[in-house]
Subunit: 214 residues, 2 copies
């Protein structure tokens, strides 16, 4: 349960929309100096009311008769989202997805620093991928503590994903981004976000096959 500005509870849907607001303000930065909730709503395909209510959970950023200053709001959102500070993370699993993520350079711009990769395959341990060392999974608990790791990305086969999650939680990890195609067995209030690629693709193909011309 997360509270905003004046102690009101921020709905999870609002939090999950925040990065999208940041993307729009980032894009707006070299388009215009100010933007109204009406204009932004049109751009984002949402209502002006939603824009104002969403932003109001975090502060009073606008000005009557003017709107929101784009540069200011981008800075505010960067601060709110922690983009302006460094967040240490690790990737567990150096398979296809794991390796692609190691090379994914968008993490850096969002303030995330990849401190290590973990796997179990002997031939990989000690190697570097894109300048980041691969360690043995047995060392992950001490590494989390020593290197002050906040977040872990799980990119291992589903058969071992829960074993990995258990190790991470024991090591003191604060949040997990899970790419394994299952729901991890974690305490119900533990921060976890899932990226289920096949789920998304199945929902998409269902929609494609069933949609009527509306």
């Amino acid at each position: 349960m997360i509270r905003g500005k004046d102690g009101s509870i921020i709905p999870k849907v609002v939090i999950e929309r925040l990065p999208r607001y940041y993307r729009y303000f980032d894009w707006l930065e070299d388009q215009m100096e100010k933007v109204s909730s009406k204009k932004l709503g049109e751009l984002m395909g949402s209502s002006a009311s939603q824009v104002r209510l969403d932003l109001s959970y975090f502060g009073d950023f606008g000005q009557q008769g003017y709107g929101y200053n784009v540069t200011k709001l981008k800075k505010e959102l960067a601060r709110i989202l922690g983009i302006d500070r460094q967040t240490n993370f690790i990737i567990v699993g150096a398979g296809n997805i794991g390796k692609a993520l190691v090379r994914y350079d968008a993490f850096f711009d969002a303030g995330f620093t990849l401190k290590g990769i973990f796997d179990i395959k002997p031939s990989l341990i000690g190697k570097k991928i894109n300048g980041v060392t691969v360690y043995h999974i047995d060392d992950v608990k001490s590494f989390i503590k020593k290197e002050n790791i906040e977040i872990a990305i799980i990119a291992v086969p589903k058969q071992v994903a829960n074993d990995v999650a258990k190790l991470l939680v024991e090591g003191g990890i604060k949040g997990i981004l899970n790419f394994a195609p299952l729901d991890l067995d974690l305490p119900s209030d533990f921060p976890v976000e899932n990226i289920h690629i096949i789920d998304k693709l199945l929902a998409l193909s269902f929609i494609v096959r069933h949609r009527e011309d509306e």
Copy 2:
């Protein structure tokens, strides 16, 4: 707008939950013969009411006093989701994410067949990645028609993502799974699902930093 069993409109949230139901029935298959909505709700962390209402959009699959037959429901969901038939798709962009997806073997089990990869880099064209040929993006429109491609995965830099989307739609693609970190400029009713990795990670780290012990 998609209609179910008796012509009632199926909410999008329900459609997006379907693959998750399939995953649970797939797992249940070698655990038990039947499952009640109560039991399944406990497993999935949802209510028995939601399980029953969700499934009821697609048919009357249960039996009073018994519950749902696991094997039967898995088959029904496979049919509903189109897992039992082949869906042709392509990947556009042979960068880090694109290459990882080419090697991702979970597509096959969900009925998806990768027919081609598209890029613009001359050194890649004609090469094979994991047995699949890389073609030039200029050929994508004719390829979609000739090879009967339904879905495209966009895994290109955000600067060119909308150009790619335009080509795909002109070529007759039916749905897009977008990995580029922006919202594509498409007709509002065009089937698209987004996987915004950085958005997920930012929301997660916000939650990690702000959650109170509730």
